[in-house]
Symmetry: C3
């Protein structure tokens, strides 16, 4: 179970790091700037979660493998950007995978630290969207999470399924895999079909 | 006393959430983006305070009512924006009320956790301005706190009065109400009469 | 040793505060905005470090002298900006000194709290660059750390030398002074001679 959580976290960190590095390359940062963005996108969500539940030092600082994974992903993206770019909509795709993995793992860890199920869902969502928010704020952009189709909703629903699975005492992997698939699928369909939430129409622009 | 603090925190969260949601609607975020901004504006100041004094998980995550209050305020603002807008300068007004309530409650909580009175004033000011800073940074704007008339000064003075009241061993509510009224009044007059602090004149723009 | 760390921290805070205040004046913030930026630039790196290693309340909030140093530096910069400006490239110079001091002190403190040497280097780098990141994000700019010549590299190498010195059981001051000089010298040469890291060339701008 613990090993499962760590592996999930490392895989999620890797895909988020690629998403961060891609944004860094597009903003023409230098190599270290790209690695910083890579690391920030990879671990900010998990760090926010760990600091908020009191699990310090956060996994990302207690365990050098998160740093290694982020640097690896950042370097691959930096030096092989054309390959990464050739995949269609790479940022969105990697972002959706990282979102799903982090939302589910974050909610599970918050539950394990004794938080209320409702707040565990929120912390799962926040650890899912925290990396993307940090990534976008570091390049002075409005975070995509605040505009994107069903972004936070997908994370919250994925986290809710994982929490529900734990509440029903299903095998941990079952609820987490179901939640991650739901989150990824929802986000993927939202991108593909332009599903979105209502947008307000203020009188003046 | 504890109940009083919690009620103050919830009311402050509600008005800050409206201020956050208003900014979100004006930036044409989608429903979830508005709710995220609503929650961020409501709880970022309190979260910063709680993380810094070591009170984790922060009240905003240990207690689902903060989330509920923020969602309620965000939804009202999203679906009844015209009503909110009809009030003159709604963001500034709600912001001043939230500022006053949070500055006073934040300073009182920091004192209760054993911080030095001077730093309790600073933490009160920071919990007052933290929500607004997070709100503005999330939409990639320079925080209004850094430009606005007497914004941080009002928060600091309100927090200082609350700390002074505790130091003089007055009934807790007395110092807190006086501090909150001073902060709100000062901010209100600053908006109304354009009171402001000196601005530097660098040689080149 | 403890006194040495505190003095280093205070001196680093002072120079970072001047760098923050200079950015604030250039963005024409009011007096309190300049002081907020001054304090944020001075202590954000150290606060991030302390929160992440679990040393709460952070030194910047447990000890009023950090606030005093930041306010002093901010006020000097605000009222004597022409003098500060007359020094060539004041932001970059003060920034390099603060970077060196904070990277070394941050790494040493992380080691003292039992972190893995590799992560102590990372935390040293982060406490070095955290203040500058907060400073730039508060005025809605892409942090200079993500673009500047050898910025984060200099911080990481300085932190690494300090950690290496501790590992070799040298007198603490030796490794720290050597690390700080390396970091400052590298950053200074990078500014003077335009040394930089490779920048990616994405196909489309």
């Amino acid at each position: 179970m613990d090993l499962f959580l760590v592996v999930l976290d490392l895989v999620g960190s890797f895909v988020f790091a690629i998403s961060g590095a891609t944004v860094g390359v597009r903003h023409r940062l230098d190599l270290f700037g790209v690695l910083v963005l890579s690391f920030a996108a990879a671990v900010s969500g998990g760090i926010a979660r760990d600091v908020l539940i009191g699990a310090v030092p956060p996994a990302a600082f207690a365990d050098w493998r998160y740093l290694g994974v982020a640097i690896l992903a950042g370097a691959i993206t930096f030096f092989r950007y054309e390959d990464i770019e050739r995949l269609r909509n790479p940022v969105q795709l990697f972002d959706a995978a990282g979102l799903a993995l982090f939302a589910v793992a974050g909610a599970t860890k918050a539950l394990a630290w004794g938080l209320h199920p409702v707040m565990a869902v929120l912390l799962g969502m926040l650890s899912g969207i925290g990396g993307g928010i940090a990534r976008d704020m570091l390049v002075a952009q409005v975070p995509v999470v605040l505009r994107a189709e069903l972004y936070a909703v997908a994370a919250a629903l994925g986290a809710a399924v994982a929490v529900l699975g734990a509440w029903l005492a299903l095998p941990p992997a079952a609820g987490m895999v179901a939640g991650a698939l739901l989150c990824f699928g929802l986000r993927f369909m939202a991108i593909r079909h332009g599903w979105s939430l209502p947008v307000p129409r203020p009188r003046e622009p």
